[in-house]
Amino acid sequence: MNDLEYTYAVARIRALEASLLTDSFVDQLVNCQSGQQCLELLSERGWGDADTGLDAAAMLKREEEKTWEVIREAAPDLTVFEVLSYTKVYHNLKAAIKEVCTEVRNEHIFYDDCSIPGTEMLSIVENKEFGRLPGKMAAAAQDAYDTLLHTRDGQLCDVIIDKAALEAIYEAGQNAEDEIIRNYAESTVAIADIKIAVRSWKTGKSLEFMKRAMAECEGISVDQLSKAALAGMDAICEYLAGTDYAGGAQALSESPSAFERWCDNRMIETIKPQKYNAFSVGPLVAYQIARENEIKTVRIILTGKQNDFPEEAIRERVREMYV
């Protein structure tokens, strides 16, 4: 699509960027005495609406909805944004397969703001209509379903679906015309691979398991990373130091939460150039990712406050803001 088609949408997003949370506002939130005070501060800033009041979960959910409402209204082509909801769609698939195989029903485990909402996914899995799923998702769903039924190994089921999700994101990135989607896909897959390597090392997983869980991407070699994970944390850091993800090695050496924060900050760094892009879909995608990031950060702060975490522990987990 012609970049000029996004002129209206980008200008609208620019106006909305003025209301994104800044680092100083997040500091204010961290300095609040209680979760209630945080919620009051957020409410004054326009978070939530009359119906959500000061209910944290409802407020955060409403903010997620608001973001998608803006994107749906402004974007001339929504197909570009599908890749951003892949994680939600694949989560729904995982949840549906587990519900069907275990015959246990749970509430509030599905995402509804994605291309295949929970009820539809549940119906597909119940009726084994995997052919209705898009692309390679159908094969992954069939494989995960059979595996869970035969082995009752929930982790293996998760690994199959998570890898399929990463491969779908990477494929969408490769096929995308827009650079930001390619960068998003590359960063998402690479960071996921690094997380898998670190967690596999901590839990003593085998090389075969890691290779089964990791997805190929340009910046990370699955073979080298998984071998490094077998050798230990130092080997992972040493391998990452030679890649575009060298910052992750340093964060890993600090603490697990510093690493998690680095993963999110890396994504924000990837999208930051979009602040200076006046046309194309880039600023819209960046806004969507930035909103997800700030909602996640607020959730971390609220959880920390509600559980009486020390201020320093919360501050360590606070993500960098887009604006």
Binding site: T7, Y8, A11, I13, A15, A18
Partner: protein
């Protein structure tokens, strides 16, 4: 043959008006989309974004001026059409080209720059003055083209 001369001269006037007008229409359209985007979220910035949207509209006026001067030159506005030779007609056509071509290109470019500047206003309205300078820079080249077309059309003897 003399009629062909007047045709060329009229073609020059039409080129000046048509191309620069088209450039302005494109530019104002692009800036207008951006202005609407900002207005949908923050109507208080109406005046500032409207000024930005108007900036690419000047090329159309410059084309109109050259078209008007050309029509006046060949006597069409005075009621008596001058006897314009083919050579003179072609000279007038050539004289009208700068504002036509530069008007088209600069109009669209200024529209894109104005849209980007509207983005600045959306985030930092206090930077309106500086933001306006960026699209205004594009105007320089439209003015230069206007000057050359005006001097050239005026200098042609009929």
């Amino acid at each position: 043959m003399s009629q062909l001369g007047i045709v060329y001269a009229l073609l020059g006037a039409a080129t000046a008006v048509f191309l620069s007008g088209a450039g302005s229409a494109l530019g104002v359209g692009i800036a207008g989309q951006a202005a609407s985007g900002v207005m949908s979220e923050d109507p208080s910035k109406f005046a500032k974004v409207l000024i930005m949207q108007l900036l690419p509209g000047t090329q159309g006026l410059y084309g109109l001026i050259i078209g008007f001067v050309t029509l006046s030159k060949i006597g069409l506005l005075g009621g008596g059409v001058a006897d314009v030779s083919v050579q003179t007609g072609l000279l007038i056509l050539a004289a009208c080209l700068p504002i036509g071509i530069v008007g088209l290109i600069s109009g669209k470019s200024q529209g894109k720059t104005a849209a980007a500047a509207i983005g600045i206003i959306a985030k930092k309205p206090d930077q309106f003055g500086k933001a306006m300078l960026f699209p205004a820079m594009v105007e320089t080249y439209a003015i230069l083209a206007l000057l050359i077309s005006f001097l050239a059309v005026s200098a042609i003897q009929i």
